[in-house]
Point group: C2
Chain length 215, copies 2
Amino acid sequence: MPTEPLSRGRIVATAIDLIEREGADAVSMRRIAAELGVGVMSLYNHVPSKDALLNGVAEAVLSEIEFTDDPDAHWTDRVRMQARAFRQIAHDHPRSTMLVVSRQLHSAAGLLPVERALATLRSAGFVGADAVRMLRMFIAYIVGSLLREVGVTPSFAPVHDRTVTAEGVDPTLFPEVSSLAPLLDECDHEAEFEFGLELLIQAIVAHAARKEGTR
Amino acid sequence: MPTEPLSRGRIVATAIDLIEREGADAVSMRRIAAELGVGVMSLYNHVPSKDALLNGVAEAVLSEIEFTDDPDAHWTDRVRMQARAFRQIAHDHPRSTMLVVSRQLHSAAGLLPVERALATLRSAGFVGADAVRMLRMFIAYIVGSLLREVGVTPSFAPVHDRTVTAEGVDPTLFPEVSSLAPLLDECDHEAEFEFGLELLIQAIVAHAARKEGTR
DNA sequence: ACCTGAACACCGTTCAAGT
DNA sequence: ACCTGAACACCGTTCAAGT
């Protein structure tokens, strides 16, 4: 069977596959080329550099988000849906998530979620600097949540170390951490995400009401 | 003059210096050794691997945080102070920040901020799973904020691209992003951080009051 | 105990040569 | 236009040899 022609898309897809299978550290131009059965240098006919390839990976993952926006729904529901759609990345591409949130994207793939969020915030009455502030707060929370979910941000599970022994954390040095160890150890990512999301939305509703009151 | 003896501390300090001067990509065992005027392999007498060295960097940066906690202050003020102390990392070690938030630390350096935060939350009446939830929400927001501040998370500044031209974003494709471009372009990191922090604290106060009311 | 150079198995990318 | 191997300047780490 004749192999499909090499293309940027095939290269990016192979990279994503490799990252999800073996982690971001496993990605190398040589490795991807081997995976595709071509010489390393063939890749450079379709991608200018490894850096550009990784941007392509981030864009591809971002493009896969399914934003099913209902313009008739209440704005709080639309925000909820968008936040959840974004969180889906951590589920669909856990080991690529870090790449997605850590790369500055200026293409359509990166701008579309922002465009949607700003439109939703406008429908809620937030315009200009207010809308941008709200957006940034949501992004910060979502990005931080995703990083915890994919395991790059501390979750404080006890491991074998000087301070963290097999029996757990030293209770005289860290009484709180020690007593809450079982709770810190486990994490229902969806529940935690939803909790913060609700709190944030409630806070924004209250904030808007406050401004309305002082007008 | 006789050179100081090589030590884990000196190696870590050199690594931090190098990261802040030239970025995380510039860090290599060979480069650090050269900086210290020793052979590469000498490093391995004090540090088991590059990975361990980077953990050392994260711990050292984290240890430099100045937590000036006042147990008599109102818990909201204590939370504010702790959040700001953490944000100080982005100011003191911008190019090491990613390393700090992306490494799972189980040593005293990583546990201390958690211990303090949990103690403060307890004084506010949050115990058990509630305290852990609050803590996680704050961490998510702070981590996300720091990543934006050090420039790894999208800030959506217009650059030259297919969708983002020199004149700005295509207004027909991205009307919101386009009209808010000047606001998206600039960011007062302190103001943005404080805004979200206040909103979060207000949300928690309201949340607690709501629970109190239904008791 | 600490240092070290040589060596091994890798990297990304340039270049000149092929078709 | 697309592919490629050789080459260059790098990596982290193992190992055996030194003091």
